[in-house]
């Protein structure tokens, strides 16, 4: 038996009730995060990556949202479906979270110092003086120059990159064992993005903090992650170590994403191959594979039945949800097709 994971998510289902009907945003997601691991969840808008982590944090508005199935265990304890009081016990303390838009995620009427100190007072019962002192140390740790002066400033006095650092500082206040970063660099320039990614990697390496990084950018994944889940239409279509995902892509969607991006390394001037069409409507998800309608290799069965997860026997963490991995399926150019074994996970 392997040691228990830091976070284990099993068969998570999330739905939203809207005027137009029920949106099945997350349709059976399984993944786990080990202590000190950086896991990237990558996918396009609407694939359910943000909803997945928001449901872990208990910050999905309910209603209209509803967790209709599954479990998520943090250090062996269930965190789904907790009441507000119980959720507050681990939120911020065990799991920290940073968001895409630091400008709207921080309170504009409180100083940065007061916002960081608040976390410490609530969770650790620190005195105001002690909390301010730790807040200052946190700003220094996240490399914010002139920390003492910055503590007394308001968010509007910060640049986007500095605000993201301040939000990281706040999320680190209680030394969480897991940090969820939802598109932390999407709003930032590439030079500032490099600074923030370096900072996250440094914190992970030094403090052994696990990170779930939500992003749509494969290049950010390549720079930061150890393991990757690729999501499409509310499901994980491929997961594995970062090298397996990039160099042994076993799902046509992963392959399609790579071919749609310009590369400066190999085949520099190869024409981009866009993925035709757009993701399916999750009001009524397709009966078969969610990607079948856009997949250049779709077979009849792909439209009829959702494929099981096929696991690579030589790298058991590498798995793909695709009928092309079934025994006897046609060989497809560019796709990694070892003999994968159907897992009993559905």
């Amino acid at each position: 038996m392997s040691p228990p994971k830091l976070l284990e998510v099993n068969n998570l289902h999330v739905e939203f009730e809207t005027y137009g009907g029920v949106v099945k945003a997350v349709r059976g997601v399984d993944f786990s995060v080990a202590a000190g691991e950086v896991l990237a969840i990558v996918g396009e808008s609407g694939c359910g990556k943000s909803v997945t982590v928001q449901s872990l944090m208990g910050i999905i508005p309910m209603p209209p949202g509803k967790i209709t199935g599954g479990s998520a265990k943090l250090k062996g304890e269930e965190i789904l479906g907790l009441d507000a009081h119980a959720a507050n016990q681990f939120r911020g303390k065990e799991i920290g979270m940073i968001f895409q838009d630091p400008m709207t995620s921080l309170n504009p009427t409180m100083t940065i110092g007061a916002q960081i100190a608040e976390t410490l007072k609530v969770h650790r019962g620190a005195s105001t003086k002690r909390a301010n002192q730790i807040a200052r140390e946190l700003l220094i740790r996240t490399r914010i120059p002139e920390a003492q002066k910055r503590l007394n400033q308001y968010p509007f006095e910060f640049s986007g990159g500095m605000l993201q650092r301040a939000m990281i500082a706040q999320s680190l206040a209680c030394s969480p064992s897991l940090l969820i970063a939802d598109e932390p660099t999407t709003a930032l320039d590439v030079t500032i993005q490099a600074q923030i990614l370096d900072l996250l990697k440094e914190l992970q390496a030094r403090d052994g903090m696990a990170i779930i990084l939500i992003t749509h950018d494969l290049a950010v994944v390549a720079r930061t992650a150890q393991n990757v889940c690729v999501m499409y239409a509310g499901q994980i279509v491929e997961q594995g170590a970062v090298d397996d995902i990039f160099y042994k892509s076993a799902h046509p969607y992963t392959l399609g994403l790579k071919l749609a991006m310009p590369s400066n390394v190999s085949d520099q001037n190869k024409k981009l191959e866009p993925i035709p069409g757009s993701p399916p409507d999750l009001f009524s998800p397709p009966k078969g594979c969610g990607y079948a309608a856009r997949c250049p290799h779709a077979m009849r069965i792909c439209h009829q039945e959702n494929p099981p997860l096929y696991v690579d026997a030589s790298a058991p963490h590498h798995a793909a949800r695709c009928w092309l991995q079934a025994p006897g399926a046609p060989k497809t150019q560019g796709l990694y097709q070892p003999n994968l074994i159907a897992s009993d996970r559905q």
């Binding site: 590439v190 490099a194 290049a219 390549a222 990039f246 400066n264």
Partner: protein, 316 residues
């Protein structure tokens, strides 16, 4: 095709302060060429596009289109006159389409202004909807019925239906998903080839700009630091800022990312208020010399068509 000489745009922001958004940009764009303009937010790249086509009045300098000077301040008449040759595609496909107009009215507005009869407009709009990968039936719909990628195609059809010669694309793909970005980029390339268009492609995605552009120009705080053939600028960057910018650009290649050193640029772009002489990049430059603080570097030709504004380099 397009030429600017020492183009300046200053904004007065009160209390005797001046924001130097563009400080002497001299740039040429050849016919049927895509020029990619990159830089961080606040570098002035959007202001350049807007000033060039008269959406901002320029403070000083000259701009030429097909050898003829463009007016410094556009009158309503000028806008109408130049809009047949010069068009723009905007960044935000949600904000740049009027939500109360149908797709037919949005795409056909330019033709209607020219006094073309409605039945001809309908035919032309149907053609362009098909050309950008939408369906002619979509004509009677409103923008809210479309996804981001589809809206961007509507914006492209609106610009192209006039048969312009020059199009400014201001971050046309940054609001789109990866798979849809490729659709839009390929469409722009096709249109450029089939219509013989000239494009100014403003973006912050370096890999995409290198891919689509023939030439590339890098801006920093209202000045042009480097310009040249895209591959030369990307693979052999000369200006310290360009070098650091390209090293910060992540590649979708984990082994490469693990082996190359992190080269995060320290500090942040400042705002160009009341600038004195000297290089704009001097405070963040790892190779700054005393000369850089006092003397403004001017663009120097260092290779075929490759210009750098940096005291480290001398005219070839």
């Amino acid at each position: 095709m397009i030429k600017t000489v020492n183009l300046k745009k200053h904004f007065h922001i009160g209390r005797n302060q001046t924001l130097h958004a563009l400080d002497g940009i001299s740039l040429t764009i050849a016919e049927n060429e895509i020029l990619g303009l990159v830089g961080e937010s606040g570098s002035g790249k959007s202001t350049f596009g807007k000033t060039l086509i008269g959406l901002h009045e320029r403070t000083a300098g000259d701009a030429f289109f097909e050898g003829l000077p463009l007016p410094q301040k556009y009158t309503a008449k000028d806008h109408l006159r130049y809009s047949t040759d010069i068009q723009m595609i905007f960044q935000d496909p949600y904000a740049s389409l009027n939500p109360r107009m149908t797709v037919l009215d949005i795409i056909g507005e330019g033709l209607a202004l020219k006094g073309i009869p409605r039945s001809d407009i309908q035919e032309e709009v149907a053609f362009w909807l098909r050309r950008v990968g939408l369906h002619p039936d979509h004509m009677s719909r409103f923008p809210h019925e479309f996804s981001g990628g589809q809206r961007q195609r509507i914006g492209i059809a609106r610009a192209m239906i006039i048969k312009p010669k020059f199009v400014v694309c201001d971050e046309p793909i940054s609001a789109l998903d990866v798979s849809v970005q490729a659709q839009v980029v390929n469409l722009l390339e096709d249109l450029k080839d089939s219509l013989g268009l000239t494009l100014l492609f403003i973006a912050h995605d370096l890999s995409m700009v290198r891919y689509i552009s023939d030439r590339m120009a890098v801006m920093y705080l209202g000045t042009l630091v480097e310009s040249g053939p895209s591959d030369a600028v990307f693979f052999e960057p000369k200006h310290p800022y360009t070098r650091l910018l390209i090293q910060s650009n992540p590649e979708a290649d984990p082994i490469l990312e693990r082996t190359r050193p992190s080269a995060a640029l320290t500090g942040e772009i400042t705002s160009p208020i009341n600038m004195g002489p000297g290089c704009r990049f001097v405070d963040r430059c790892p190779e700054a010399m005393p000369q850089c603080k006092s003397e403004t570097p001017h663009p120097r030709l260092i290779g075929s068509d490759h210009e750098v504004a940096c005291h480290l380099y001398h005219e070839a």
